[in-house]
Every structure is written in structure tokens, then in C-alpha cells.
Amino acid sequence: MIDFELPDQIKQQYAMFRQVAQASMRPISRDLDENEHEKPWDFINQMWPVIQMQEGHELKRAEKKAAAIAAAEKPAKPRKKRPSTATLLMAHMIEAMSWGDAGIYLCIPGGQLGGEAIKAVGTIEQKRRFLKRFTEGEPKWAAMAITEPCCGSDTANIQATARLDEETNEWVLNGEKIFVTSGLMATQESDGFVVVWASVDRSARRAGIKSFVVEAGTPGMKVTKTEEKLGIRASDTVSLLFEECRIPYDNILGNPEVKKEGTTKGFKGVMKTFDASRPLVAASAMGIARATIEFVKEMLEKDGVEIRYGLPRHQLTGLERDVMEMEAQYKAAWLLTLRAVSMLDERRPNAIESSMCKAKAGMAVTLITQKAVEILGPLGYSRKCLVEKWMRDAKINDLFEGTGQINTLIVARRILGFSRRELK
């Protein structure tokens, strides 16, 4: 049945996250924007136990599943069970946190995207080895390093290499990664790790690209630059240099074999993690969008302006039209996001829906926040309010995890049934 009702449990948790966002993020939001490179330690320490619990839960589930697979002679017939709501919950948490502050949200410790990659394709041994750290001790981070100076959208063209040293049975990484979110926290400020994309065979192009886990403190890896940015300043974005950086053979994620040139199966595997992460980026965008719309309406209300829904269009003021357009774009993007998210929970392929919601959300939050600055005028532009900051924060959502164009390109190829060659 077509249904838009959230399960009660998610409603409750969502309400709780919204409370945290209000109480622990908003008060420090402006400060962290003005003081780039500072970290919200109180908030991090507050969130860490929650993350530990979540990660512990997930690890336990992975163990259980592995044990079940090991025990069963042949795989048990899949029972028809209720679809999971894990991604739905995650999306609501991210939305609420980003309503608080999108930059601070990105500072939350835990596996984040790097962890997701391991959860998606890692063996149970790898999950134990790399993810256990998020269930104990001090806060730790993980990061994901794909982008290079030469190429961001064109991920197939990355230059970093991984060479197998057969004598020591180690991978040797060389290359430079840029724009690594939480790279500093993951590799230098905590015992975390970074998942690095590198090619084991450049002549094989896409098929040669694999991902590797490099743990904090591994010799040969260093942070060479911390970027200063337009927005999400609380989140560190760094360059990582790999020079003869040696890691154990077992740190490769997925199948080490290079399929013959022309096949892209391995690459498709890594790209699949985007299907899961893009709706979550969209959810983050929607948090900023909601914050902005709520604030604009609140300010207008204080000023005696009520948004009158239901009137014939010719009676609407330009201002009302603008606000309604913001709300309609918000709703459009949010519903597309919920659809992509619920498909993930139902384990249905969602590549097109995932790119649709990401493209729409990135665009919508950009338009909404930019319009808000215009509507609020001098106040909108002032650093006294957070709207100008939200506009700066918002823009990242149309850039990372596939720019708006790249996600539109993916949608276009899918609806047309065109290959990369047929639609460049």
C-alpha cells in the first residue's frame, strides 16, 4: 500500500535527534563556521556512545549472519521477512543532524562512508579487524579517498596505484588523494582508517580499480594539506599523499582479481556503494533545506506575513510564491529521497532513484538557501543569522558524491539505456 507514515520507532528517534540538533549543534554552529579547523569536541564526545552502540549492533548482526552462513550446509531459503528500516532511520538521523549543522554532522565519528564500503563488500574478518574500533575506546573516524587532483567526476581515470609485493605479500600504494572528508581525523587524530581507491593495473582501466584500507599511522601516508572552504567548515577536508605506503595483502576490499579488460564488474561493485550513500547525502541536503524554510517562515511570521495556501495564484504575493516554490522543491526532493531510501531497505536495485534524489536534492537545497538569503535581505546576508551559512553549506551537496551533472548523466543513461560511449 502506498503509505507515507513513518514507523513509530523512527518517529521517536527522529524526535530525539532533532532535540540533540537543537540543543547541541545550533548553539555552536556559528562559532565553528568562524573558526575553521576547530572541532566540536563536546558534541563528538556526546555522540560517540551512540555511535558505539549502533556500530556494535551492526557488527553483531554481521557476525550472526556469518555464523549462519558457515553453519548451514546450503544457504537457507530466504524467509519472507519484514523489510529493514535501517536506512530509513539513518536518513532521518542525518536529516535531523544536518538541520542542526551540516558541517558538524560530518564530524560525527564512526565508520561513515569508509565504514559503509567495508560493510558492503568486506569479509567478516575485515569487518572484525576494521570496524571493531568503532565500538570501543576513544572516538575514531573513517574516510573515503577517491578524488585526485586530476579527476573527481571521472573516477575511472584515477592515477593512484597499488602494487603487490609478492615477497612480503603487501600492497604498496602510491599517489595523491584530495578533498578527503575527515581525512585528518581518520588518519592523524584518531586510530581510524581511510579507504583508498587505487589501480592494480592501469591498462585495465575501470577493471583495475580496487579499494584498500589504510590504517592511521601507516608509514608512507601523510596529510599534506587541510583545505579552507566556502562552507561545512567544521568538517576537515584534506589531501593525502601515499609514497611507497605498505599495507597487508588482506586490506584489499572485494575481489583482488582483475577481470579481463572491457569488463567492469569489479568497478560496478565499488560504484554500488554510491547507490547507498547518495540518498544519505540527499537527506543531509534536506536537513539544511528544512532548516532554511522553517527559519524563513518564522521570520516572516514575526513580521506579520502569513503564507496563504489555497488562494488563486493571482492573489498570491511574489513573496508567497517564492516561499511556496521553496516548499514544493523541498517536498519533491524529500519524497524522491524517501523512495530511494526505502528501496535500499527493501533491497531493491535503486541506482536510478538514488541518482534522481541526489540530483534533485542538491539542486533544491541550492535554490532554497539562495532564495532565502534574497527573501530575508539584509538579515539574510548578515552573519548574525545562519541563513547565509546554510547557503554556503548547502552548495556541497551539489558537488560531492557525484555533482548534479554526474547524477543527471547517470539518470539520463539509465532512462535511455545508453552506455557511457553512447552518452558521454
Partner: protein
């Protein structure tokens, strides 16, 4: 629990309506458009899908176990994908039936609703729009004045679908400034059906001007009796139906343009191989899906008994914009051919333009 899957029953119904749209509507709609006429026999065929009766509960001889606006939105999209004029013709009886179902007194429901569950197409309609710019359904110029045991209606209407053949017309008029509905039988004295109207699109749909000159109806003909009707609620349902149809029209144009762009070659390759064309198509796909989800959410809220006024209003605002942009894009993708009436996209642009201009012309 959040889900985007129609029920099995709904899927069966959509399947049937989609087949009808594809196999019955599509082969003839262009001829109907050029001729400006939907033959009665065709409307009868469409009536046999039982869509109007599907929204009427069993106690009034319909076959709705549970009335669902979501279901209405689903089939409205499919019909309009087939053709908007035909969709509006087939849904016109609902303009009378559903307000009676939602706001009518028990007596009104019992006396009118069973007619909509019979085998014969029930020609009924509503008269809301008035010949004025800056039209406002909440501030009608048509008046209703109580005179003894009768209401006296005066005023002018336009865009009244099927008025010439309608047995029943729900006339909206202002009583003491508030919009109320009045159930008028075709042929009542003082009810004059004017000229058949000519418009930019939906040419097959017969709409008329209507004038009310001291048209008298019994006091009991006021929709909802003494307490009247809830115009806001009716507008919400109308907005859901209309937006669903906008999605259907947009989808028709998008699908056609998509297939065309893969076939048509320019500069040695399919035009879809250029981002300038492919991105237009991708944007269309995204916005069509988004508009549909907004319609569904509003419809779902109605079914849940939640207030859906704002959702339906925003859904319509969004869908109106999307259908225009998408149908314009459809013409654009076809290039010169898009402008030629041998191809359907120009018709969809003309039809698509209508949505933002109207409110209240369909109901589910």
C-alpha cells in the same frame, strides 16, 4: 510504514486503465481532437471501466469497499496519459457525484449516487468557473438567494464540461458570500446552456458557457443541506485529480520524446547522445516522479483523514509547472516535427498549458 507500492487491487485497476488508454484511447484520440467530439459510444466504453462507481460505497450501489483517493489519483494519471480530453470527459460525472458523496445529505446521496453506478454513462457535471480573469472559487459572482422554499440562482459560468447533455449539474454559487453547491437538473427553467467553447487544447472535450437567469431549485437542492459544503475539501480533491492528470500528460510527452531521441540522428549520432538533449529528458524524468510522489502523498493524507489542503495545493503548483516544462521539452526534442500536428507532442503542449489556468475541473 513508508511504501511506494500500490496494492494488488490498485495494480489490477491501473493495469486495466492503462490497457484501455493504450489500446482504446491512443488509436482514436487524435481524430477526436481534430473532430472536436468524443462519440457517446466511446464514453460508454470508458464508463464500463467502472471508475466513478469504484469511488462510491456499496451502500449506494457502488463497489468501493473503502473509498480511496490514492486509487483515484492512480487511474486519473493513466487516463490522462491516454488523452486529457477523454480523461476529463470520463471523469466529469465525478464532478457531481463525489461532492454529493462527500458533502451531501443522506437523502441527496440516496437519490443521486445509485445513478452513477448504473451501466449507462451518466452525463453529469459541475459549473464552477466564471468568465472573468482573476477568478476566485471562494468569491463567486454567481449568487444563490433563498426565496421561500426555493433557491434562486443568477450568474454566468464557463468551462462546464458536457453541459449540453448533462442530466445533473452541480452549480456553485455564493450564498451570503460563501460558496455553496446547488444540485440542478438539466433543463431546469432559467438554466441556459450557451455556446460550445473553443480552446487552445482539449478540443475533444465539449465544454459550454452556462447562464443562470432566475433559475429556481427546491431548497433541498442545496448540497449538504443547511450546513452546506466544505469548498476547501472539494478543492483539495480536485487539485489531487488535476495534478495526477498533469503527471499523466507529462509522462506521455516524456515517453514519446525519449523514444524519439534515441531514434533520430543528427550529426551522425542519435540526438539523445548529446547532453543538451539527454539532460532535458533526465530532468523530465526526475520531475515527473517527484510530482507523482507529491500527488500520492496528498491523496494518502486524504485517505488517512489528515488535512491535505497544503499538500494538494503545493502538489498542483509543482505539477502545473512540471507539465508545462515537460510538454514544452517534448516539442523541443522533436525539433521541427514537434510543431507538426502529425506528431502528438504539440497537442500535449497545448493540453499541458491548461493546468495552471484551471482549478476545479476534475474530481476523484
Amino acid at each position: 510504514m513508508i511504501s511506494f507500492e500500490p496494492t494488488e487491487e490498485q495494480q489490477m485497476l491501473i493495469g486495466a486503465v492503462r490497457r484501455f488508454a493504450d489500446k482504446e484511447i491512443r488509436p482514436v484520440y487524435r481524430d477526436f481532437e481534430e473532430e472536436g467530439e468524443i462519440p457517446h459510444s466511446f464514453a460508454q466504453k470508458g464508463w464500463e471501466l467502472g471508475l466513478t462507481a469504484a469511488g462510491i460505497p456499496e451502500e449506494y450501489e457502488g463497489f468501493a469497499e473503502e473509498r480511496s483517493v490514492v486509487t483515484g489519483a492512480l487511474y486519473a494519471e493513466e487516463l490522462a496519459w491516454g488523452d486529457l480530453a477523454i480523461a476529463m470527459h470520463l471523469l466529469a460525472p465525478g464532478l457531481f457525484a463525489y461532492p454529493v458523496l462527500l458533502c451531501g445529505t443522506t437523502e441527496q446521496k440516496e437519490s443521486y449516487l445509485p445513478h452513477f453506478c448504473e451501466d449507462e454513462f451518466k452525463s453529469a457535471t459541475a459549473a464552477l468557473i466564471e468568465p472573468t480573469i482573476r477568478f476566485d472559487p471562494a468569491a463567486l459572482k454567481t449568487t444563490a438567494v433563498l426565496d421561500g422554499d426555493e433557491y434562486v440562482l443568477n450568474g454566468n459560468k464557463m468551462y462546464v464540461p458536457l453541459a449540453a447533455t448533462a442530466d445533473l449539474i452541480l452549480v456553485y454559487a455564493a450564498e451570503d458570500g460563501a460558496t455553496q453547491g446547488f444540485l440542478v437538473k438539466g433543463g431546469t427553467q432559467g438554466l441556459e446552456v450557451g455556446d460550445r467553447e473553443k480552446h487552445m487544447g482539449i478540443k475533444a472535450l465539449a465544454t459550454y458557457e452556462l447562464s443562470l437567469n432566475n433559475c429556481r431549485i427546491p431548497r433541498a437542492g442545496k448540497l449538504g443541506g443547511e450546513s452546506g459544503c466544505d469548498l476547501g475539501q472539494l478543492m483539495t480533491l480536485s487539485r489531487i485529480a488535476t495534478s495526477a492528470m498533469a503527471v499523466g500528460v507529462a509522462r506521455a510527452s516524456y515517453e514519446y520524446a525519449l523514444a524519439y531521441a534515441k531514434e533520430r540522428e543528427a550529426f551522425g549520432e542519435p540526438i539523445a547522445s548529446r547532453q543538451a538533449v539527454a539532460f532535458m529528458l533526465a530532468d523530465m524524468a526526475v520531475d515527473i516522479d517527484a510530482a507523482r510522489l507529491m500527488v500520492w502523498e496528498a491523496a494518502w493524507r486524504v485517505d488517512q483523514g489528515k488535512d491535505a489542503a497544503k499538500e494538494a495545493y503545493l502538489a498542483k503548483m509543482f505539477a502545473d509547472e512540471v507539465v508545462l516544462r515537460v510538454t514544452d521539452g517534448g516539442v523541443q526534442v522533436l525539433g521541427g516535427y514537434g510543431y507538426i500536428r502529425e506528431f502528438p507532442v504539440e497537442l500535449w503542449l497545448r493540453n499541458g498549458r491548461g493546468f495552471a489556468a484551471f482549478d476545479g475541473l476534475a474530481m476523484v
